[in-house]
């Protein structure tokens, strides 16, 4: 019975190898040479195991069916056979050798990050990714898209089926060119994460304080989705990865707009930083910043998670002197509260501080202007 199940399962695995079912049964074959090599290795070892399984389970089943007391069998008395025992020690060993050789080849390939065309630095944060294009100076965060985020809240009543790419979509995908050897370097800002896109064939842990690397050369334009694969806290399940592979021309176009936007944003930030905002303006902006950056820990309703993340609602900090509040937001506090001076601009910081002081029924009444946010912090 178990045997039939195994065979059925194995057959199913083989059959759907290339089929495009809504749900896949087998490993992703992927869009890089490396991922296909890994896929082939996977299929090879799978079939070897199936073959051994057929033999072992076959003999076992035969024995169970035929060597029964109810069939009047008189039990044999043999209890060893050196020749046989040597055989079934040596043969598996040889089979393993036959697996180890291709495994070694593929592993060497996976580790060869030399001669790359470009480098992207990936930093894991709780719970978002940051992508830095080291050659082009582009730098942005990538978080779960708003629709999934809304639908995934406990008791949201939104049917996930109605959300396109539920939990596998982000606001800013990583955009890369096809047919270029891209070297990825990984690190993390807080805890360990793991960057995994099945279509690229591997995952790599991102470790705070250390750098790991991997590479990919994508040969088909397309959108490839993956997820964080190392438990990184409460929202580990909600930090997807989207890679958009574009043709060289499209990629260059994208690059140009990004660069333009980066400069424009910087200019805008400079002007905005000297502008004076009204309370409602700051509150509106602050809410957006808060929900994108703070709600993961302090919760959208500002109540935090007792014991882990302090409430903002009624917090002595949010109701206390504004300087201290600003300093915590900008510089962080303890091991868990990150400083935002490097990730948010002055307007965002001013807005989110203002929002925390006046939202959630805090009604402190004061506000912080971007110009009051000290620069070099």
């Amino acid at each position: 019975m178990e045997r039939t199940k195994l065979l059925l399962g194995a057959a199913a695995l083989g059959l759907v190898g290339n089929a495009h079912a809504e749900y896949a049964l087998n490993l992703t074959r992927g869009v890089t040479q490396l991922s296909r090599d890994i896929y082939d290795l996977h299929m090879y070892i799978l079939w070897v195991c199936v073959a051994i399984g057929v033999i072992v389970y076959g003999l076992l089943t035969y024995s169970v069916l035929h060597h029964r007391k109810s069939k009047g069998v008189v039990p044999a008395t043999f209890h060893e056979n050196t020749k046989l025992e040597v055989v079934w020690t040596v043969i598996p060993f040889l089979i393993l050798l036959a697996m180890a050789v291709p495994a070694t080849k593929v592993m060497i390939e996976a580790y060869d990050t030399s001669a790359s065309d470009m480098t992207v630095k990936v930093t894991g944060y709780q719970w978002k990714w940051r992508y830095t294009y080291l050659d082009d100076g582009i730098d942005f965060f990538s978080t779960l898209d708003a629709k999934s985020n809304e639908a995934r809240q406990l008791g949201s009543k939104i049917n996930p089926e109605t959300v396109e790419h539920y939990l596998l979509n982000v606001d800013h995908p990583l955009v890369v060119p096809v047919n270029k050897k891209i070297r990825f370097v990984f690190t993390a800002a807080d805890v360990i994460h793991s960057w995994w896109v099945p279509a690229l064939g591997w995952k790599k842990d991102t470790i705070p304080g250390f750098v790991t690397e991997a590479w990919a050369r994508i040969d088909e334009p397309g959108v490839y989705r993956g997820q964080c694969a190392e438990l990184c806290g409460r929202d580990h399940g909600f930090m997807p990865i989207v890679v958009e592979a574009k043709s060289e021309a499209d990629y260059q176009a994208w690059l140009a707009t990004q660069k333009a936007q980066t400069t424009a944003k910087a200019d805008e930030a400079v002007t905005a930083a000297s502008k004076s905002f009204t309370l409602p303006e700051l509150m509106a902006k602050g809410e957006a910043v808060y929900n994108a950056n703070c709600a993961a820990c302090h919760q959208a309703n500002g109540e935090g998670i007792p014991g882990n993340f302090p409430a903002i609602k009624g917090s002595p900090v949010a109701l206390g002197p504004i300087d201290e509040h600003l300093s915590i937001v900008a510089k962080g506090k303890g091991a868990m509260m990150p400083g935002f001076s490097k990730t948010l601009d002055k307007v965002d910081i001013a807005a989110v501080v203002t929002y925390q002081r006046n939202g959630f029924g805090n009604d402190k009444g004061d506000l912080l202007q971007p110009s009051q946010v000290p620069s070099e912090n």
Binding site: K121, V185, G209, F210, V211, T212
Partner: protein, 285 residues
């Protein structure tokens, strides 16, 4: 295989449950203390008191039974094996910390500090691998490393001599020379406590003058955790030997029956060997 003349089986044990309650109270108290709960210290004292009662009670019972001659040769063999495997488990506890020292020195720090390493290139450009170190973040601030040739070398001498004196005491016991036994033990215990006092002095020096603390990055962490756990074991060993000394004075041991002495002596040798490892890998190299 041991002969099966007779095997002592206690019928009822009250001390284990007392020990469980005591240890749990102690640890729960400590946990509360670490979390800043006011009840912590009180629970710790209570737990410690229960533990001491348990130890006195349990060992007292065993000593009584031993003196009453209820333990056959086979029972003593059980005790011996038990002690040997207990010591081996202790060796592996230290192995975890030696492993941490090895790993960080040989692997992690070069990854952070060697120029051809990507971690160095992207994160810790200005850090150069070296030992001792408190890491690229210079955690704990400036410190002076502990040299090998002052107190530590003296302590090596002390522990090695104490290994000799305890063996000399054992010879005395085997030859039924009571005064040699007792003198040997007194010397061993004295050397043991001297070691602890010198180590306390060394720690004081480290904290007050060298800026070297438990928080001095990985060097401070491995230094204090390794030497600290070792010091704790020296203290335990010295207490064990003190009890053995008192029992020797009462004439509890004979050349044939002296498991407690052997156990304490083995433990002492184990502490000795660990120290040699410490001296070489923590202080010297």
């Amino acid at each position: 295989m041991a002969s099966h003349d007779s095997y002592f089986l206690p019928h009822k044990a009250i001390w284990p449950i007392v020990g469980s309650i005591g240890l749990t109270t102690l640890l729960a108290g400590f946990a509360n203390f670490l979390n800043g709960a006011a009840i912590g210290p009180m629970m710790m004292w209570l737990g410690a008191a229960i533990m001491i009662t348990m130890l006195v009670g349990w060992f007292g019972t065993v000593i009584k039974e031993s003196v009453a001659g209820w333990y056959s040769h086979q029972v003593e063999i059980s005790f011996r094996w038990g002690m040997i495997w207990f010591i081996i488990s202790e060796v592996f506890f230290f192995a975890a910390f030696f492993g941490a020292l090895y790993y960080t020195r040989v692997l992690a720090i070069p990854w952070m500090g060697d120029e051809d390493s990507i971690t160095n290139e992207f994160l810790w450009k200005s850090f150069e691998s070296a030992w001792p170190t408190n890491g690229p973040g210079a955690i704990g601030g400036h410190f002076e490393p502990m040299g090998a040739w002052g107190i530590p070398a003296l302590n090596t001498l002390i522990l090695l001599s104490s290994g000799v004196t305890v063996t000399w005491a054992h010879w005395g016991l085997l030859a039924n020379k009571r005064s040699q036994l007792i003198q040997g033990l007194i010397a061993t215990v004295a050397l043991g406590f001297l070691f602890v006092v010198l180590q306390a002095f060394e720690y004081h020096e480290a904290y007050t003058e060298m800026g070297l603390t438990l928080g001095s990055g990985i060097y401070g962490s491995t230094f204090f955790m390794l030497t600290g756990f070792h010091g704790l074991h020296v203290t335990i060993g010295a207490i064990m030997l003190t009890v053995v000394l008192l029992r020797s004075a009462r004439g509890h041991f004979s050349p044939e029956h002296h498991f407690a002495f052997e156990a304490a002596a083995w433990y002492w040798h184990f502490v000795d060997v660990v120290w040699l490892g410490l001296f070489i890998f923590v202080y010297w190299l």
